[in-house]
Symmetry: C2
Subunit: 325 residues, 2 copies
């Protein structure tokens, strides 16, 4: 592959001049600039980013660590992050931790070795200690991480409230919340808090059923949901803590011959594509994923520029009414 030197020789200038052309520094005549560009095209030259990064002591790479890729929420998040990153000239190093501690650590080390500009962490079991001597900006999304990192999340509590208020306003008297795994690191827990607060406020009968991490890892909630419904057949409103769970709830109800929204009204969370692909479509709480992704990249940039960034950044959610309620 052609190098800077090759280009310089062929264009009959020095490497300094070529470098100046590429990086737009110093004085360069239009003539020389054109000549250099011509030779670059002729030799099919592509600057070696590795050498460049090494020399400049910075890469334009952002590491993304997620616990799942096929999970529609993370797929959407990754897509938006990639987009926001590309718009600012960053590229993406994608890591799938499979929600495993050791893989998370391994990937964080890997990101460090590759001198990424920043890390977007959407998976989190790692001890905070590990993050301390990292010297790399870390932004978490929908995870709590106290140690001086920046956390972006949607207003989960508000989401829980919105969903529950909606169900109650439709006349539901016996609510069930299918929550995810309990984990102090997950702000999603606040969805349940909102649910409970609103139910108590209105004096509505309610119950919460949590998933196990085994279920979370396989993403198959079917039996779990069936059991939860069978335990209390009088349920007339369900708030699922993700659209994925909501979609599976629809299936279980169909099997049990329970009509949605006839007998049970259902609200999901996230507003990912499947919410529009099920029958009926799912009324859900919309996370502003695009904005969350854009802020994540923005905050990484600000950190690199030594600008101040908030420790916690919470974005509002909205209710999207569809056919399941």
């Amino acid at each position: 592959m052609a190098t800077l030197k090759d280009v310089a020789e062929r264009a009959e200038v020095t490497v300094t001049t070529v470098s100046r052309v590429i990086n737009n520094r110093g004085y360069i005549s239009e003539q020389t600039r054109k000549k250099v560009y011509d030779v670059m095209k002729e030799l099919n030259y592509q600057p070696n980013e590795l050498a460049r990064s090494l020399s400049m002591q910075r890469t334009n790479t952002i590491g993304i660590i997620v616990p799942h890729i096929v999970h529609p929420y993370f797929a959407k998040l990754i897509s938006n992050l990639e987009n926001a990153a590309a718009n600012k000239g960053y590229k993406i190093l994608l890591c799938n931790s499979k929600a495993k501690n050791e893989k998370e650590l391994e990937y964080i080390q890997m990101c460090k070795s590759n001198r990424v500009s920043g890390i977007v962490l959407c998976s989190r079991n790692v001890d905070i200690e590990e993050m301390k001597n990292l010297d790399i900006p870390v932004i978490t999304i929908e995870r709590n991480l106290e140690a001086g990192t920046v956390g972006i999340q949607c207003d989960n509590y508000q989401g829980g409230c919105l969903a529950t208020e909606h169900l109650i306003s439709l006349g539901c008297k016996n609510l069930l919340h299918l929550s995810g795994i309990k984990n102090e690191n997950m702000p999603a827990d606040a969805r349940a808090e909102g649910f409970i607060a609103v139910c108590e406020k209105h004096g509505v009968r309610h119950r919460e059923v949590m998933a196990t991490s085994t279920i979370y890892n396989t993403l198959d909630y079917h039996e779990h949901i069936r059991k939860a419904i069978e335990e209390d057949p009088g349920v007339d409103g369900i708030f699922a803590s993700s659209d994925l769970i909501a979609a599976q709830t629809i299936q279980i109800c169909a099997e049990m011959n329970i009509s949605i929204p006839g007998q049970i009204r259902l609200v999901g969370f996230d507003d990912v594509d499947i919410a529009r692909l099920t029958t009926p479509t799912i009324t859900t709480i919309r996370q502003p994923v695009r904005e969350m992704a854009e802020w994540a990249i923005e905050f990484i940039q600000r950190s690199l520029d030594h600008e101040a960034v908030p420790e916690q950044f919470k974005l509002p959610v909205t209710l999207v009414k569809r056919n399941s309620t």
Copy 2:
């Protein structure tokens, strides 16, 4: 951040020795090895992969270029590629071309600049010319690319046949094939060929309706599907060329009060997660995505080792019976 030199000084050895420890070359006593490792831990040292790659003239990075990330098929593919890559010590540079020509080119250049070990191309509009002077192994998945690159695909023709045979064996007499966009670069076109061949063989009435690229880009086939069904209300079997289309077909049928599988039997393609999340679940043609991903990584490795790799590699598909037929 600590460098090799820092470690060497602190461990009272030379950089050569430390490098030998890290790369497991030459003779090293257990004592020295331990000492070096201790210091590395103490200084929280992480070798600079950039410098390493530059020096060794090779990275362990693989570029993946896809036209969509949220599309469940690509999400599944990315997930499997990441997994296969990680198992062999590669990391992933993720690129979303949005099915746009210029972005594809841009990303290919970017991969080149970053000296990736190989590119997995799942998006393809690029002129073949661009690929010729690339010096990087390129593996395509479900795309045709004649110019000396390796193409992995599933047996789309066989898939079309299997789906159609299945529908006919269930007694369908009036078949509709909802195909994707027509594109000479897409082997998925063979699905329609298989469909037609089997219909003709059995003398079954059949019709194919193609999508436009506008639809493909938004991934919203609803109106397209509705029109296709309204044009011929007598349809009793539909072969959708993706599970995404099949899922939307279920919705349209529900709206039109057509029961599945009662009045229309439906077969999808891909076997992605949504096929198990709809009501009814979707009978589909399963692509062996995991194997395809593993072979892709394997072929990149073989190319790097100058081993021979096949030009075309086709894997068999299977029918997965669920509730839509």
